[in-house]
Symmetry: C2
Subunit: 501 residues, 2 copies
Amino acid sequence: MEDKFKQLKTLLAEISDLIAADALLGWDQQVNMASGGAQDRSEQISTLEGLIHKKATSSELGNLLHNLESEFKNLDTDSDDVRLIKVARRDFDKHTKVPNEFVAEFARLSAVSQNTWEKAKKESNFSIFKPHLEKLVEMRRQYAGFFKPYVHIYDPLLDDFEPGLKTAEVQGIFDGLRPKQVALIKAIKEKPQVKSDFLRLNYPEKGQWDFGVEVITAFGYDWNRGRQDKSVHPFTTGFGLNDVRITTRVSDDYLNPALFGTMHECGHALYEQGIDQKYKRTPIAGGVSDAVHESQSRMWENLVGRSFAFWKHFYPRLKEFFPSQLGNIELDTFYKGINIVEPSFIRVEADEATYNLHIMLRLELEIALIEGSLSVADLPAAWNAKMKEYLGITPANDAEGVLQDVHWSCGLFGYFPTYALGNLISAQLWETLRRDLTDLDAQIEKGKFTDLLDWLHKNVHQYGAKYEPQELVQKITGSKINPDAYIRYLQDKFSKIYGLD
Amino acid sequence: MEDKFKQLKTLLAEISDLIAADALLGWDQQVNMASGGAQDRSEQISTLEGLIHKKATSSELGNLLHNLESEFKNLDTDSDDVRLIKVARRDFDKHTKVPNEFVAEFARLSAVSQNTWEKAKKESNFSIFKPHLEKLVEMRRQYAGFFKPYVHIYDPLLDDFEPGLKTAEVQGIFDGLRPKQVALIKAIKEKPQVKSDFLRLNYPEKGQWDFGVEVITAFGYDWNRGRQDKSVHPFTTGFGLNDVRITTRVSDDYLNPALFGTMHECGHALYEQGIDQKYKRTPIAGGVSDAVHESQSRMWENLVGRSFAFWKHFYPRLKEFFPSQLGNIELDTFYKGINIVEPSFIRVEADEATYNLHIMLRLELEIALIEGSLSVADLPAAWNAKMKEYLGITPANDAEGVLQDVHWSCGLFGYFPTYALGNLISAQLWETLRRDLTDLDAQIEKGKFTDLLDWLHKNVHQYGAKYEPQELVQKITGSKINPDAYIRYLQDKFSKIYGLD
C-alpha cells in the first residue's frame, strides 16, 4: 500500500509539473511573447495538454486510485492522504467520463465560436453568434449527460468550478440575495449622488505601478516567490506554490483598473502562496474552487481596498504620487468616489452594489438555456428584460448587452456564479475574522495586514483544495454559503456613503 | 511508408514541442523567476527532460526509424526526408547507446562537481576539485566506450558537439593554426601598444541598451519573432523557429560586454531565425553544430562588429549616446581600442588574436586527460606551462588558471574546440561571401546588412541541421574547416592596427 501510494504521488507530481510548464507557456504568451510565435506556441500548448490528458486518464492512474480507495477506506476521512485520493479521483472521473472525441470536437467548436463572437460583438449583431451559441448549449447539455445521474442538468457544469455545489443551492442563495440587492440600488438611486470624475484624469503609469507595488507589498505578497508584469487582461498564475505571478494593466486616464486590479490579483496570489508546502506537486496545491478563490481576491480588493480604514492610511501616500490630480480632493470625497454606485451595462465595470445582479442575470439565463426553457433566439430579449428589472436600465445594443462577455463563446457555462459567490463568501469570512481580530480597523488604518493575512493562511489558504467549498465555508464560519453577511456589509457601507435611512 | 513517415514526423514534432517547453522553463528561470521558485523549477525541468528522454528513446521511434531507413535507402541521399531520418537516427543512437543509470549517475556527479568547482574556484584551491574531476574524466572515458568502435577515445565526445568531426581532424586544424597565432602575438607585443582605457568609463545602462537595439535591428534581427532581455550570463534560446530570444548583460563601467555581447547573441539568433520554416518541429530546426553556430555569432561580433567599416557608420551614433565619454576619442583610436591585443589569463575576456590559444590549450589538455596521458594531479602545472608557451604569461593562482571555466565541472569535454572552430569557419565564410558581395564594405559603411544576411540565409541558415559541419563548410567554401582564412584575416587586420611588417 505504501508503495502504491508513493507511485500515485509520483504520477501526480509529474502531472503537476507538466501543468506548471503548460501554465508557463500561457503566461509567457500573454506577457512576453512576440506575435510571430503564436502559431508555434499553440502547438506546444496543445502537445503539453495532450500529454497531461493522457497521464490524467491513464489506466495506471485509474488502477492506483482503485486499489488505494479500497485500502484507505477505513482511514480517517479527514486525513491528507484520504483527501488527496478523493481529489485525484474527482479529477480522474472528470477526465475519463468525457470521450476524447467529444473533448476534441468541443475544443474546435469553442475556437470557432470565439472568433465568431468577436465579430458579432464588434458588429453588435447577435444573429452572427446565434448558431454557434446554439451548438455550444447543445454540447454542454451532452457534456452534462456524461455525468448522469444528476438532480439538475446544470449540476455537472457547476461542479467543474464549485465541486459538490448543486444548482438548487445556488438558486436558493441568490433568491435570498436578489430582492435585497435590487431594493438597495433603488434606495441609493433616490439619494444625492457622489462624484468620481477625479478618478478619470491623467495618471502617469509609473506612479500607478509604484503605488500598487507598495500596497501589495504591505498586504504581504511574497516577491521572493512571484513577480508582477503587465498584460492586456490581468490574471494570476502559478508554477507550483513558490512561483505565483500576477499581472496588471494600467490605464493612464483612469485610476481604477491598476489600483483595484492589482489588489484583486494579489488576493488570488496570497491564497496560492499561503497553501501548505506539504501539498506541493499534488492536485491539492490549488484553491478549493473558483468562488473561494474569488472570495480572496474580492476581500483584498473590496473589503480591504475599498474601506475607509485602508484609505485613511494610504490616501496621503497616493496624493504624494499624484499631487496635482488629487491635491484638492478630500479623503472623504475620494472614499465615496471609489465606492460610487451606478447601474451600468458592463459587468466588469460594475460596482460592489450592482455587480452581483449582473451575475444573477447571467446565471438565470444560462440555467434556462441549459434546461431548455429558454431558446437562444429569445436570449437577447430575456437579457434586456432582466437588465430592466434588476438594474433599471436597457442596453442600447447587443454589444453592451448579451454579447459583452467572452465566457459563453468559450463554452464556459457554470462559471459566472463563482464571481458572485466569491463576494458572498468574502463577507462571510470577513464577519468571522473580525470576531477574532477585534482591532482590525485600527491595524488597517496603520497599514498593517499581518494579522489578517495570518488568519487567512491559518483558516483558508493552508488547506489548498483539501475541502469542498461548502465544507470549508461551514468549517470556518459555522454556516454554508449564504447572502446574509454580504447584504449586511452592503447595507452598512452604502447607508453611510449615501445617507440611507 | 507515407503513413510511417507521417507517424515519425508527428512523434518528432511532439519531442520538439517538449524541448521548446523545457527551453522556456530554462529561459524564464534565468530571466524572470524569483529565487524562491528554484527548487520547484528544477523538478519541473527534470520531469520534462525525463519525458523527452523517454520519447527520444522509445521503441516506437526506434521501429519507425528502422522501417523507414530500409524503405528510404534508394532515395536521393540529399533529400530532406532522408536527411531528417539520418539526423533523427543520430539523436536516437546518442540517446539509446548510453544506459539510463549511467546518465542519472553522471547528472548527479556533475551537479555535485559544479558546487565543488565553485568552492574550489572561490578559494583558488584545485585540490578540492581534483577528486571530482578525476571521476568526471573516468566517466567521460566510460561514456566514449558506449560508442565503440572509435579511432580515438575523444571522438565520441567531440561528436556530441560537432557531428562527424574527428579528433585527428581537429588536431590537424589546430596544429596549422598554433604556430602562426603564437608568432603573431609575439610580433604585436614588440610594437607600440594601443590604448583602450576609454572603454572603461561610466556608461549608463540605458544608452548601451538602446544603442545595442539599434545595431541588431540594423543587422536584421526580427523582433516579431523574438525579444531581448537581461541576464547574468548572456545566451540565445529558441522555442521553435519563430520565437528566438537573446539576452545580454550590461556593465555600467565597461562598454564591451553589452556592445559585443549583444551582437554575438544576435548572430546566434539570426541563424535560428533564418532556418527554413519547412523544418519546423523537426530535429533539423537548429544549427548544424556548435562550431557553425559560433561562426555566426563571431562573424557578427567580430568580422562585422569589430570592423572599421562598421564603426565608420556607427561610431558617430555611439558618440551621440555618450558624448562626454567619447567626445574626444577619434574613430581611429576607438577602432584600435576595441581591437586591442593583450595576452591575459581569462578566456572570456580574451581578444581575437589570443582567444584561440586559450582554446587550443584546453583542447590539448582535455584530450590528454581523456586519453590518460595526463593525470588530473598534473593538470594545473600543465596548464601553466602551456599558458607560458602560448601567451607568455603565468597565472598567479588556479582561480585565474585551470579553475576559471565551468565546463569541465559540468562534464563538458569536447565543447571547447567549437569556440575556436567557430572563429575559423567565420573567416572561411567571410572570404567566400566577399567574393559574391563585392561592395560589402561600402554597404557596411552605410549601415546596410541586408545583402550579407540574405547571403547567410541562402548559404548557411536555411538548411538548419541538415548537413554535418565539414559537409556544409565544404559545400559553401569548397574546402573543409581549416585555419588559413582566419590567419589571413588576423594578419591583415592586426598588421594595420599594430603596424607589423
